[in-house]
Amino acid sequence: MLRAPFNLKPVGPLLVIFIILLVLPPIIPRFYTYMLAVIFVTALVAMSLNMVVGHGGLFQFHHGAFYGVGAYTVALMLTKTSLPTWVGFVAGPIVAALSGLLIGAFCVRLTRLYFGMLQISLGSLLWAIAFRWYDLTNGDDGIHGITMPSFISSQNSAYYFILIVATICLILMYMIFKSPFGETLQAIRDNPERCEAIGINVRRHQLMAIVIATFFAGIAGVLFVVVEGSVFPDLLFWVFSLEIFIMCLLGGWFTFAGPILGAAIMVSLRTFVGIYTEYWTLILGIILILLIFFLPEGVWGYILEKFGGQAEEAVEGENE
């Protein structure tokens, strides 16, 4: 189908960022390599959430559950079965998407807050399974020391693997964002009744968006296991879902690249402010209050607004 290429103008600066990220690991301290990898993974899950929240206008309040499902799927398959690694890696996103389909099918029958409430409940069920089913999941201890295949077992190689997979995902997401599907999704966000009146099956469209978004969340979950080598029930806890929701708001949820920035800000805050005080969320709270008053479109939204409206096209899809 790809006869005509996408607009290629912004590729230059993005390529530069990508190359910088490629050459960084050997020259920066190990800890920063790890932190960048965490940012990539978190950015990917935030981006996948923003597909439904920012572009779809759905109150996907428990997106973390699907991220956790992806992570647990790969962790369980690598520790409890002798299947090849790649099977686990592929199964992660697929199982996440299936759970997205199941939960989404119930949720899209409701609207707005009711959608969100139902999703928190159903997502929390998944959390309860991870938390309580000791025999399978080790409960609150989680699963640790998951061995990765040799090509991604060192920190740097894991970093490259994550960088490349996340980049591919971002490109795919950008294509979806700009496709008729993505445009229609944004139209549904703006005005679902009108979409229904122009021949669009709104619920099915929303469900499809949820499945795609949870698939990408599942990929992020797999990458989480690659970087951490462990899983624990907190991944599926609603607090984490709230955090990724905030990342979208922080970065700018009507933009494509905003959540990447939001994720980078959140992870950095947690890491650096977290060193000095365990109350780093207090700082986050203050930042959020300021944001709501002064940058309601998010940090990235503000930058786009300030420095050229159509610059969105030029810088969208920035590589973390």
């Binding site: 189908m1 790809l2 005509a4 599907f181 229609t184 009146a197 122009i198």
Partner: protein
């Protein structure tokens, strides 16, 4: 082409539409008139599926459509505009119409092809015909009232309907704008071979434009006939024109 038979709809105890009948023949320009609260908008919502009737049915091209969801009704060839501008405020004018054209072409769920390269000619042609070409890049929410009304019609045209339903297309317009809009609608009807059903409260507009007029009063169809017959109908004069001398 379209037949509405003895349709009823009540909200709690209020009977909004209480036995309305309507016939629209292919190629006609049909108007529904009636005082405020007569049930015109409710009737349109019943035809296009936003509301489900309590009783009675809507038949379009020999098929009962009154139990279909709105998107199915649209796919059968009925598009509509709304009384209050019902657009996609965050999208550009171009994209507002394009979304509709893409839906018509069944491409809404295409995933990996850039939308900006699809349905461009169709969209531009519609924008031209409603006079919005020069504003294609504007964010729809920032348009002036009159332009939003035109966009409203453009979105409906994107579906290439057989039957176009316009709910008070000239609501809130000055007399000049009203004339211009009605001219545009007549022009669209002839150039695109559209059948148009609209409602309106400006009598002048209705009697000049419509080939058939249906009068509603308190949810009931009083009469549907040619403009002259309607003008001379005693019941209409009593209930709607307040007994005034026919002009």
């Amino acid at each position: 082409m379209l037949r509405v038979e003895e349709i009823h709809k009540s909200f709690d105890d209020f009977k909004a539409v209480n036995g309305a009948n309507l016939t629209v023949e292919k190629g006609e320009l049909v108007a529904v008139i009636g005082p405020n609260g007569a049930g015109k908008t409710t009737l349109f919502n019943l035809i296009t599926g936003q509301l489900k009737p309590d009783k009675g049915k809507v038949i379009f091209n020999e098929e009962v459509i009154s139990d279909l969801p709105p998107y199915q009704i649209c796919r059968r060839g009925i598009a509509r505009s709304f009384q209050i501008a019902n657009i996609f405020p965050r999208l550009t004018v171009f994209r507002n119409v394009q979304v509709s054209v893409l839906s018509q072409q069944r491409k809404s769920r295409s995933l990996f092809y850039p939308a900006e390269k699809l349905a461009v000619d169709e969209t531009n042609s519609i924008l031209r015909s409603v006079g919005l070409s020069d504003k294609a890049g504007y964010t729809a929410g920032s348009l002036a009232h009159g332009d939003q009304r035109a966009l409203e019609i453009a979105i409906a045209l994107g579906n290439e309907p057989e039957l176009l339903i316009l709910d008070e297309p000239t609501a809130g317009m000055s007399p000049e704008e009203t004339t211009a809009t009605m001219d545009m609608i007549k022009q669209l009807a002839s150039s695109r071979g559209l059948t148009i059903l609209f409602c309106e409260h400006d009598m002048e507009v209705v009697f000049n434009a419509a080939q058939s007029i249906m009068v509603m009063h308190q949810g009931l169809t009083v009469i549907q006939d040619k403009p002259n017959e309607v003008r001379n109908c005693r019941e209409v004069q009593e209930c709607y024109l307040g007994g005034a001398e026919p002009c």
